[in-house]
């Protein structure tokens, strides 16, 4: 069964309109072109078969619980750590899928990303390994 792909209101629709308009006007940069290509491919798969293996679609229980609507996540890329992700839900009508949000690929090499790297928690003072060192 093929699905109609709709965009969530208002931001996703605006995002899609902006992307497609810039594409038509030839104003998309190289990164934008790359992203749009991945997005269109993923949306085409989503419309044909939401369970397409390339999308690795799965329900996000925490979001489903939060919103009271089944929220699914699909990937824009394969074999990529921290790949771009699509969040979508069935509806509003039968045979419809609404794309609710897009989490683009994190910029791992630009705009001060190194400063934003999250670190693990520091060991608690007086934890096992430090006590052992003190004994020595």
């Amino acid at each position: 069964m093929a699905f109609n792909i709709r965009m969530g209101l208002p931001e996703m629709e605006a995002f899609w309109n902006d992307l497609s308009t810039r594409r038509q006007q030839g104003k998309l940069d190289k990164e934008g072109e790359k992203f749009l290509k991945k997005l269109v491919k993923a949306l085409a798969f989503l419309g044909q078969n939401p369970r397409h293996p390339g999308l690795a679609s799965h329900e996000i229980d925490d979001l489903t619980r939060k919103y009271g609507v089944k929220i699914f996540q699909s990937y824009l890329e394969n074999n990529t750590p921290a790949a771009g992700r699509l969040f979508w839900a069935y509806g509003p009508d039968k045979g419809d899928i609404t794309v609710l949000a897009i989490e683009p690929h994190p910029e791992d090499q630009k705009r001060g990303s190194y400063q934003r790297i999250k670190l693990s928690r520091l060991p608690v003072p007086g934890s096992g390994s430090q006590k052992r060192q003190q004994k020595r």
Binding site: M12, L43, E103, K118, L119
Partner: protein
């Protein structure tokens, strides 16, 4: 543990592949496991977008179906 002739050391049974290294003035080196992106984290911007989209979806509102044909032809 000792550094080799090229001042390198081995970490045995390291649980992570990448580390953030701080060289302290007292000669200590502090290695912290580096996490580029927590896999389940959603940015606040995307979460805001999700909130609005779901609110509209519950009211039965979404954009018109999008046409991918023109993109797929190329």
């Amino acid at each position: 543990m000792a550094a080799d002739t090229k001042k390198r050391i081995n970490l045995r049974n390291a649980k992570t592949k990448y580390f953030h290294v701080k060289a302290l003035s007292n000669g200590c080196y502090l290695l912290e496991p580096r996490v580029l992106v927590p896999p389940q984290a959603i940015s606040s911007r995307s979460l805001k977008m999700l909130n609005k989209s779901v609110a509209h979806l519950k009211k039965g509102q979404a954009s018109a179906p999008i046409d991918l044909a023109s993109f797929l032809e190329e």
